[in-house]
Structures are given as C-alpha cells and as structure tokens.
Symmetry: C2
Subunit: 435 residues, 2 copies
C-alpha cells in the first residue's frame, strides 16, 4: 500500500466546517435577498480570465499578489482578485445585450496571495453591488440605502455609514492651490483613523509646504456637528454651491424622505485611497466594534469599462467584506450555533424497523418537516451525540410495540420532555407549531 498523503490545505487557505458554513451561507442568503429586493440581478463570470484583462489597470502590488500562470494552451491566465474588473469586462463584452442602468449583484470568491495573517485569507468572499449607466443622486442613494438594509437584515443595526464626496474635496484642494498633490493628500487623510491627527498633519505640511494650508485641510476633514452644517461648511470652503454639493444635498434629502438619515454621517475625512473614485464615497463601521475597520465600502466612479470599450459608463457600487464582517460578529457574540437545518431525528432503536422509519420520515417530509433517519442501530448515546452536534430540536422514538400500533414518542431534545403515543400527524402538528 502506498504511504498516506498528509491531508492539508495551502497556506492562507482554509476549510469551513458545517457550523461556520451554515452561518456564512445564511448571511449570504440574507444579503442576496436584500440586493434582489432593490432590483439588482445576478450574473456569473469565470474565476479564470486572461491576465491582460485582469491586470492592465492594476498597480505592481496587485500583480505580485495575483495567482497567475500559463494554462495548458499556453495562455497567460489569472484567478480574479476582485469582482469589479471582471464586471467591467463583462459589461463591455455584453454591452449590446444589456439594458442601462444595469444593476448587478455578485457574491463570490476572489483570490489574493497576500501575506496570511489573523483574519486574512488568500481566498475570500466579496458581496458586490453596482449600478452602471446612471450618474444620478437616486443611484447613489440607493447603494447607501441598500448597505444599511443588507446589514439590518443580518441583524447588524448598530452601524454608522460615513459618506463623503471626492469632487467637493478636490475642488477645495484646488482652491487651496494644492491640486497637484491631491492624491498624496487623499492618501494621507485616509490614514487619519490609523495614525492620528498629528502624523497626518506632519505629512500635510510636507505636501502643501504650508502649516496654514495643512491646518485648513484638517479643519475641512473634521467637519461640523451634523450632516447639514458639515455640508454647508465644506461647500463654503470649496468655493460655494456646485453640482457636487447639490448632489450631496439631494442624497441627504432622499435619506430624510426614507426616514433613515440617522444611520449616516457626512465625514469629510473619508477618501477611500483608491484613485478611481470620483464622486460619493462611503465606509461602514460597527458602532460596537469600530476597530475592525469598514465592513462595507464603495463609491462612485465615472468610467467603469474604459479599458475595454469607448462607451463611457458611470457607476456606483459597494462591497460587503463578508469575512471581516463575520469576524466582527463573532467577536460580538452575534453568530449562531446551528449544526444543521433539521427539525427532527428519527432514532434507530431497532434495526428491524429500518423500513418502517423511512415510511414515517416520508410522511413528515410531505408536511414540510426537515427530517433525518439515523441509518444504523448504534448505541443511543452515539445517536444523541450526533443530534447534539447537529442541534436537532426534536427526536422521534419508535420501538416494536409503537410500530405495531403506528404511534411514536416525540421528544423535545433540549428539555427531554416526552410526548407519547402520538400519531405521525399529531407529531407533525406539534413540530410545526414550534418551528
């Protein structure tokens, strides 16, 4: 016999065991439900693409992290590292088959060969939504509204969504005469929460060559007391009202019309380091656990698929970082401990009744009850251990006498309460009444 192969996964990869996968897929189902309810539709794209398509726009950092190789046909291919680039390629390729505005959701795995660290994996799930083909306050607002609704659906209601507008910020920097340094400045401001005000100021002085300008930027990003007054303040500092500040005002009015404005703050320090955002940007923090960082972020870009088509497609989107969110929920003790989807287990008390058990199971199934038959007459302790692990609420016990009389004993497994001599119909009724 050949020697055994050590069973192991690759560094930075992981298996997900049932209890955690039940939790994770439950979150994904709820997020999907909300995405659908706003009119977003699913698409699918290959996990493997031409490297040329995935990597043209990326910087060196992405390139180093990507899983890239020559396939058997000598094509230069790579595993996708996000869902946005494939979506851009998809939109350009199928432009004539789509309608616009096109609103798609995509929940799927992506791969990055990052240095593995606590809570960071090389394979992880992104939950993306994007609307392309509309540059409107309604499209911006919708993404902001759906972020709140999706998190609420999974029980995460104590959140703050920080919103900002890159256009207003850039106009302010231009007015200050430091437009050519805007990328550096945005990147520096983006680090505010991480490195603190003093460090940021040092950098700003370096970029602007002026203590006064650095102070003005710090005043700008500190904002004011509420959404309205912060908006007035930054609008003023940027040189007065324009279409960008009007856009923010429209969005805020929509939040108020929907009665959900309390979840949002206008935070002029939010910049989202990435270069391609051009309009609103946003990040979402758990109020009870802000330290884990943003669990849902995104923004508006003015040209999604410019690498692949001449059609200019403005868009706005967001992505929920499912694994970070899950880690946060775990820390907050807000994850479930469900071991299966079963309502009831029919224990195997007597091997000779194996056929009888299947008949009972089928009757229960026809009433919409999730039922498992323990397949072998193992010791009861062993059978109970399995239903404990699977967190089954009810058990059914049928011995020879009961089988003859066509009755059963129903047991509430948490309390060990027993209900004897029930018909299958009576048992079904009881199980369904507490489902």
């Amino acid at each position: 016999m050949a020697s055994l192969i050590q069973p192991r996964v690759l560094k930075g990869f992981r298996d997900i065991l049932p209890e955690n996968e039940i939790e994770r897929s439950g979150l994904m189902e709820k997020i999907t439900k909300v995405y659908r309810s706003y009119g977003f539709v699913p698409i699918d794209t290959p996990v493997l693409e031409y490297s040329e398509i995935l990597l043209r726009k990326s910087n060196g950092e992405t390139e180093k992290q990507v899983f890239r190789f020559l396939d058997n046909g000598k094509r230069d291919v790579a595993l996708r590292f996000d869902l946005t680039v494939p979506f851009a390629r998809f939109t350009a390729e199928h432009e004539s088959e789509l309608y616009f505005p096109f609103k798609r959701y995509h929940l799927s795995k992506v791969w990055r060969g990052e240095k593995p660290q606590a809570g960071r994996y090389r394979e992880f799930i992104q939950c993306d939504i994007d609307t392309v083909g509309s540059d409107s306050a309604a499209a911006d607002f919708e993404i902001l509204s759906i972020m709140r609704a999706a998190l609420a659906e999974i029980g995460v209601k104590d959140i703050t969504i920080h919103v900002n507008h890159r256009g207003i910020f850039n106009r302010f920097l231009a007015k200050l005469g430091v437009a050519e340094k805007s990328e550096d400045i945005l990147r520096s401001v983006d680090k505010l929460a991480k490195v603190g005000k003093e460090e940021v100021k040092k950098e700003l002085v370096e970029y602007t060559q002026s203590e006064e300008k650095a102070d003005q930027i710090l005043t700008y990003i500190s904002g004011s007391t509420d959404f309205d007054s912060t908006l007035s303040m930054i609008e003023q500092m940027a040189g007065g009202e324009d279409s960008d500040s009007q856009r923010m005002r429209d969005i805020y009015n929509m939040m108020k019309a929907a009665g959900i404005e309390a979840t949002y703050v206008l935070d002029p320090s939010i910049t989202r380091g990435l270069d391609y955002y051009t309009g609103v940007v946003y990040e979402t923090f758990l109020n009870e656990l802000p330290s884990i960082g943003s669990v849902c972020s995104g923004g508006r870009y003015d040209n999604l698929a410019g690498l692949y088509t001449k059609t200019k497609l403005p868009g706005v989107g967001a992505s929920i970082g499912l694994d970070r969110l899950l880690a946060g929920l775990e820390q907050l003790g807000k994850t479930g401990k469900k071991g299966s989807y079963l309502d009831v287990e029919i224990y195997c008390m007597d091997k000779s009744l194996a056929v009888h058990y299947q008949g009972v199971a089928e009757k229960l199934r026809q009433k919409g009850i999730n039922v498992e038959v323990f397949p072998e007459a193992k010791k009861m302790a062993q059978q109970y251990a399995v239903t404990d692990a699977k967190t089954v609420p009810w058990g059914i016990l049928i011995g020879t006498n009961e089988a003859e009389k066509n009755v059963l004993t129903l047991k509430k497994l948490a309390t060990r309460e027993q209900f004897e001599n029930l018909t299958v119909e009576q048992a079904a009724e009881k199980i369904l009444s507490e489902k």
Copy 2:
C-alpha cells in the same frame, strides 16, 4: 490613451447573463433546500489544493485536463476537478472534529480543461451530497430518495432512476469465471446505451473468450420485468441470496414504505464505469429526453479517504450535473424567463420628484415588496424597455399632482390596466394580493 483591450473570456469558459443566472441560482436554491431537509450540512473547501492531494488517485486523463501550476511560493497546485477528492481530504483532515455518519452537501464550481464542445464547459457546477461513515441500506436509500425529491422540487418529475449493485454483478462474473476481466466487462456494459447490444457482445466475447458467457452476461444485464423479479433473477444468476442482494431488497422495501418505488428500476446494465464504486450505483434519466444522458448519478464506495487516513470510511453519494440538467430543461422548454426579482417599479416621471419617489419606495419595502426607483427622468419608452427586460409585473406612476395629494397610479404592466388615486397602502395591498 492606451488602446482598448478586447473584452473576452477564455476558451471553454462563459459568462452567465441575468436571466440565465436567475434560473440557475433558482435551481441551486431548490436543490439546496431539499439537501438540507434530509439533514445534510454544508462545508466549504478551497478551489486550489496541492496537486499531490488532488491527483494521486487520478488516471492520466484527469491529469491532462487539470489546471495545474506553480504558485508564487513554488508550490505545485491545481484547481479542483471535482468535489469528491477535496471532500475525502477534508474528512481525513478534520476527522476528529466531525461526527459520523457525516452527511455533507457542496454545490460549487469545478474545472476541467476538456476539449470544449456544445454544452461542455471548462468551468461547471456540481451539486454533491455524500454520507460517510455508514454502510447501511438506510444511507443508500436516503441518497436515492433525495435524488428524486431534489429533481421534483425543481419541477422535474418525469424521471426514471436506474439502480444496480456492483457487488452482485461482480459475484455473477466470478461465478462465470471471468472475474479477472470484470473491469473491462463493466466498462463495456457501461457503453450499452451508446453503442448498442451487438457491439457490446463483440467486446464481451473478446473478454470472456466465449460466446455462451457473453450471452449470459447479456441476459443478466437485460434484467426482467420488474424490480422484484429482476432482483430474483440476478441474485439467482450470481449464486443465490447474500448480503448484497439482501441490501437491494432492503432498499426496495424502503422505497415501497415511502411510496416512491415507481420512480426506480433495477437495471443490471448500470455499472458506472468508475472503479471506486463497490455497492449500489445509479443514474437518472429524463423520460422525455433520455438522450442527454444521466442528469444525476452516484453510488457507494467502501473507502472514501484511504489516501489520507487509515480510518476506513465507507460512503455513498450522488451528484447532480447542473449544467446538463439545465440544458435538458431548456430543450424541454421548462426554464423560466425571469429578468429580476422585482414586484414593482416606480417610474421617474419628474426629476423634481426624485426625493418623493424614495419615500414611497421605502414605505413599500417595509411591507416586504421588492421595489426599484428608476433613477433618472429618461423618456418613458426607455424606462418601460428596462422594466420589460426585468419582467417587472407592476409600475407606479406619480406626477406632481399626485405627489401633492400623496396618491399614485398603479399599473399592471402586462395588461396596461391602471388603478388611479391609490394611497401607498392600497397599492401595497394590491401588489401583495397577487404576489
């Protein structure tokens, strides 16, 4: 400006557009629901694994087809080509954390670099269930029952599941004195439907060196009139009752107890060419379209994870070939044409009412209605074109007068029937009553 990159997917790969992805994910959700209802639980494993783990047991054919490469850490890795091998590795690696019998489902993508042809892709979805750690009729029967139930859930009820037992067949071949040729013979018999009886007989004569033995094999695989008599016949030809034929009888009795026996035939010509099956084997055909081949197959193996652990884990499983099944449903005209999950669209008749529309939308959402606000005041024809593509059943029209009076016009888009001057609550009621 850099030249455009041609947007395209790799040969043998494909994008799935919304209408088809809605269909496909709908099937997966229904299949998952049934898997769960029988007590199966989900796991997840990485799409990339060490090549050593994936390929040890495979033959040269698999090796040629697999996407294999050296990663940035010079590890020899490959994309999984099925869900069974990773499950075997998973079971061995987590043996101490699992309970047995362990029943898992896994619906996910796998990759094979096969020569692309109509309906065959290099990336496709498998929908697997397996029970490991139980060698019992109940476990065998459960998989057979779930195959029927899962297909019924997606509306595919006109099917026949062909069942056989490899053990009985092998005993028969041993009695015939041709045991050492059993692999060749099984492979030959497996081709019966494809190449016809004459061709198979030619091969059998070659393998057995006897026209008489070839005829006996042909008699065996032809079976008799019904389950019972076929079982008696093959049991007889194999030398009388033993545990294997008793197993088949137990399974058949369970089918009868559950009242589902009409879906199954005992078909001694089903062998499932793959070497690792040792007990029951089965294939599923659409009665209206048998020519597309089996849409759901599987069987029992006696040692799932033998490459990775000394623990002997017998198991039984099945896999639904989702893409083949979908192709079949399409041919039969049984796929839906749903463009979104929306109940209602609020058209944008007047840009100045954009904020008002969001308030109405939120009220509808709170009643569980899936609603989209058209984000811009485009021409109505353009707005209707989008809701046509998204197959939205209802539209809401609100002009300035209606907004002032807080009413709306509800339009049934298929019939153009209009209901005027409704409050939001009245509209919600109407929409929900026909949902």
